[in-house]
Amino acid sequence: MKIKNIIVAFFLLLATWFLLNGKYDLTTLGIGIMLSLFISLVFCGKCEIFSEMNFSPKGILYFFTYIFVSLGELIKSNFDVARRVVSPSLPINPGIVEVETKLKSKLGRMILANSITLTPGTLTVKVEGDTFFIHCINVEHTDIEGATKDIVKKFEKYLEVIYG
């Protein structure tokens, strides 16, 4: 598991290095490989972030689908919030609701909470075990089941496969 962690961190650092440099020759490649190998060996030996991820083809497919789904949600709900801000009567209906998640891995929960925060209209205020407290700009269901179905389910079905 430690080896997998180091390898994933190495390729991530190398990709960031190439994107930052913007040119692809042998000198850049050599310096990049040296630097990312050094950083991943020194700093990523003990942390266990990537060891929970599922790198089968299905997991990778769901990962890219998840990126597009969350970007679509981001744009859709941004237009919704913009409509609420512009309209003169300010049609908001705020409140804090409670939802539950089934995810077990730590990184999966972090990405779920970040995605909920990134879609405008919902904001994770507090994470407590399986329970998320979420501030909604427009509350539709106040009970746990309805709120979970509204907010969490659309992200959770992808994250369950990726961090299975």
Binding site: F18, A82, I92, P94, I96, N114, I137, V139
Partner: protein, 130 residues
């Protein structure tokens, strides 16, 4: 052809700037802290993303740096707003009068002795609303 691509990039930049403006407008108009966080830090995330993407379409050779910037903004921005909202609830800033439900004030955020005072005040607020 080149001209058309540049105009598409400029229009995307303009849409991003309009989203930034709407986020700032929401920051002024909203009634309480939590709604200000909602409109303030997230409409501006999409605005900054679209602005940078438009600049990246106009100058196609800058795309690497633009991509890294977008990823950093996307990762760091929700964490800051999450921590700000948690801190605001912890020091006891009440929700606005128009709020429907507050499931969180029943359970204290952290188990500290001073916390009892804050929960009492928020419960008073709730009874006043009812």
């Amino acid at each position: 052809m080149n001209e058309i691509i540049e105009i598409i990039g400029a229009v995307i930049t303009l849409i991003g700037a309009i989203f930034l403006f709407l986020g700032a407008l929401g920051l002024v108009r909203m009634p309480d802290v939590y709604n200000r966080i909602q409109t303030g830090t997230k409409a501006t995330t999409l605005g900054t993303m679209l602005t940078l993407v438009g600049i990246g379409i106009i100058h196609l050779d800058w795309y690497g740096k633009i991509l890294v910037l977008i990823v950093f903004v996307l990762v760091s921005n929700p964490i800051s707003s999450h921590v700000l909202a948690g801190a605001a609830h912890y020091i006891g800033i009440p929700l606005s009068k128009r709020s429907v439900v507050d499931k969180m004030s029943k359970k204290p955020v952290l188990t500290v002795k001073k916390q009892t005072n804050i929960t009492e005040t928020s419960e008073k607020e709730e009874t006043k609303q009812n």
